[in-house]
Symmetry: C2
Subunit: 415 residues, 2 copies
């Protein structure tokens, strides 16, 4: 396995994802397709509506029978029946000066070409109705195929399916569509000091936070999370855990092995993995510099920082875009980005991008929100709970003055 150790930029890191292909398609039922990505373009197998339909409650008419009518000189039409919902309009044929009751969505009567809204009519008796307003042919109706024609492109490949998209597919009788499989992500926390969240830590021990956080992040990003658990800082166990995880997962997130003492450990494990190719070791961002990415076939292995705050930044910047790519989406962050104004001076170092956790405070008068850095010593958890997003400082900047406009990537709120 080839190693190279220079820091790369976040842009170059994202370019590495071109080496990965979207996962194969599967065809679950529509009910399981919300948020999934279409693997093929869908064309319509039929006309929608399949027949001419009324868009109003009223009377189906031959438009010419209403021409010239008005409030003072209504057209007088003979009611020859009602087109009940779900029954065929073809069973009712309109001859000159004839009409039929029709409801919204009902099939138009044979030879009818328009519908008069009930508001512009006055029924004199069971068989006679006055029409006060003329209609043009086609008025208040949809013709067969007005909505979608057979062969029309309905939804494009790569579309992330929304509720209304699923509705349109249902309307066309398409109850299953090919969507890319959701990536399965194995999550391994490493560290001799770790115990599971449901354990009481002994002296020198601390609970595993990353498994819970990363699993929730993966699921929020549309992946399927599988937490492997805690693996001690032991070469054999780590190698075995990675090999096993790669058998069933599309991606492995190994967190914890990025401090000076442990980083070489992850690299050593990677070296032993068959067909593993190290794509990146170090990225010019802060936090997140010691990030590792390796490729094994179409599978990815990330070495993430041990601190959950840093691991989250790397997740949003890199893991999430690769999950998107595997799911068939574009390789973008997929985070909402807003303009904010710095609430204080924020220092930074030239040569690396900084992602500063900030809290957003609404301002009066339509001004963009204030972004207040949520600092805290390295390793603190409480700032994570306070932060609303990450303020971005580019690599050519020495920081930002107070009252400067800045871009903030918002943490997604589930739903």
């Amino acid at each position: 396995m080839k190693n190279f150790f220079q820091l790369i930029s976040s842009t170059d890191f994202l370019l590495l994802f071109e080496r990965f292909n979207p996962l194969e398609a599967e065809s679950p039922g529509l009910r399981n397709c919300g948020g999934r990505v279409l693997a093929t373009t869908i064309t319509s197998p039929e006309f929608l509506p399949p027949f001419a339909r009324s868009t109003m409650d009223g009377f189906a008419v031959r438009a010419r029978d209403t021409f010239g009518c008005s409030e003072s000189e209504p057209a007088l039409l003979s009611i020859i029946g009602e087109i009940a919902m779900g029954s065929s309009g073809k069973d009712v044929t309109l001859h000159p000066a004839q009409t039929a009751h029709i409801w919204t969505g009902g099939e138009l009567a044979d030879r009818a070409d328009a519908v008069v809204m009930i508001e512009y009519t006055h029924q004199l008796d069971e068989y006679t109705v006055e029409i006060f307003k003329p209609v043009a042919p086609g008025e208040n109706i949809l013709r067969a195929g007005d909505d979608i024609k057979r062969g029309d492109e309905v939804l494009k490949k790569g579309r992330k399916l929304r509720p209304q998209d699923l509705g349109v597919l249902a309307g066309l009788g398409i109850t299953s569509v090919p969507v890319h499989r959701q990536p399965v992500v194995a999550i391994i926390s490493t560290g001799d000091e770790l115990v599971s969240a449901d354990s009481r830590p002994g002296p020198g021990q601390i609970r595993d936070i990353n498994s819970t956080t990363l699993a929730a992040l993966v699921e929020e990003s549309g992946g399927i999370a599988r937490t492997v658990g805690i693996i001690g800082d032991d070469y054999e166990s780590m190698s075995a855990a990675c090999e096993k995880a790669l058998q069933t997962a599309d991606m492995v997130l190994l967190s914890g092995g990025s401090s000076v003492g442990k980083r070489d450990f992850t690299l050593k494990v990677l070296k032993r993995l068959e067909h593993a190719r190290l794509l990146a070791h170090g990225v010019a961002i802060r936090p997140g510099k010691p990030t590792i990415l390796a490729q094994i076939g179409n599978k990815a292995l990330f070495g993430l920082p041990g601190h959950v705050g840093s691991a989250m930044v790397v997740f949003y910047l890199f893991v999430r875009p690769l999950l998107r790519r595997l799911s068939g989406e574009s390789t973008e962050l997929g985070l909402t980005s807003i303009q904010a104004v710095t609430g204080e001076q924020i220092p930074s170092a030239i040569g690396r991008e900084e992602y500063v956790r900030v809290q957003l405070v609404a301002q009066q008068g339509g001004r963009p929100p204030l972004a207040i850095p949520v600092y805290g010593k390295s390793g603190l958890l409480s700032p994570l709970v306070k932060a609303d997003g990450l303020l971005v400082i580019d690599r050519d900047s020495e920081g930002m003055d107070k009252d400067t406009t800045a871009r903030v990537l918002l943490f997604p709120l589930v739903n």
Copy 2:
């Protein structure tokens, strides 16, 4: 049951939700709490970190032993051991001029009060290290409770739980928290003309689109969708279906019964329901005017427009906020709202709010996107697929000129 039939404003409609209470709490495991809403404020049962920890790889020291040292005059300390990860620092006691190896996250040695980063040291042999830079007491360490103290408020009642929130809870050993139960929503499509999505419609028949769309909308909003299926326009069947659905669901969405011909039908069904109270019948918005809301205990029944495009608007404006309230959140739309510029003149009528489906087109130079109305005859589905959101025109406006700034509510993209 009391009936009142005047149109109410959308603001007044939302106020009706104050009559509903958030659902009771349940305590699933953390893995199932993403996006759920805390039913109680969580305070910390313990100190975090539980012991003084290093935030760097390096040497645990008594800070005073480093005072005055420099590159030219390093402090010489005796290495008395290493604090392995997961082992107790208390087992290593530092006497004057002594030090111990320590890793990021390791427990501080007994009597140590700071850590020197490895970068500022030079190890002469197994037992001796030179320190080039003095550290102050507390430097590069977290003291016990520096992050969170016992009794500290960690997360407030009403908080929608994010991945990092779950991580912090895991770190505190809290593996289950009380969150409001997710609302169960029964979805009933009514109409004699409807057949299921997997059927071939006969003459005058059309496939049920609303069940699929509403189920996806409910799930996207954090509810649990139960599609009851299609009920014909038959008083007895509809009554029976509503009564049955209300036994297990927190909310019933009845769609289809809102055209002139069918509206009275829904009302008649409501009248027969025991303890049902009609809260609203008609709202001054377009589309969505014929919306019906009834309360049965703490349960809600909505009568939604039959056309899926109108039903979606009512869902986003009213159903979703009530689902949020039942879930323990604030009664807000919960939709992202952006500024856009109208791409053409958009007419509207005074006295009602208009929600116009628009497509957004990005503009150059940081200008807000253009909002282009996606019109189409009433009843069309294809505009739904094209639209990105709803442009809002308030009730005092006669419409908007081209090139006017307008507010657009974005349809949520799942993930």
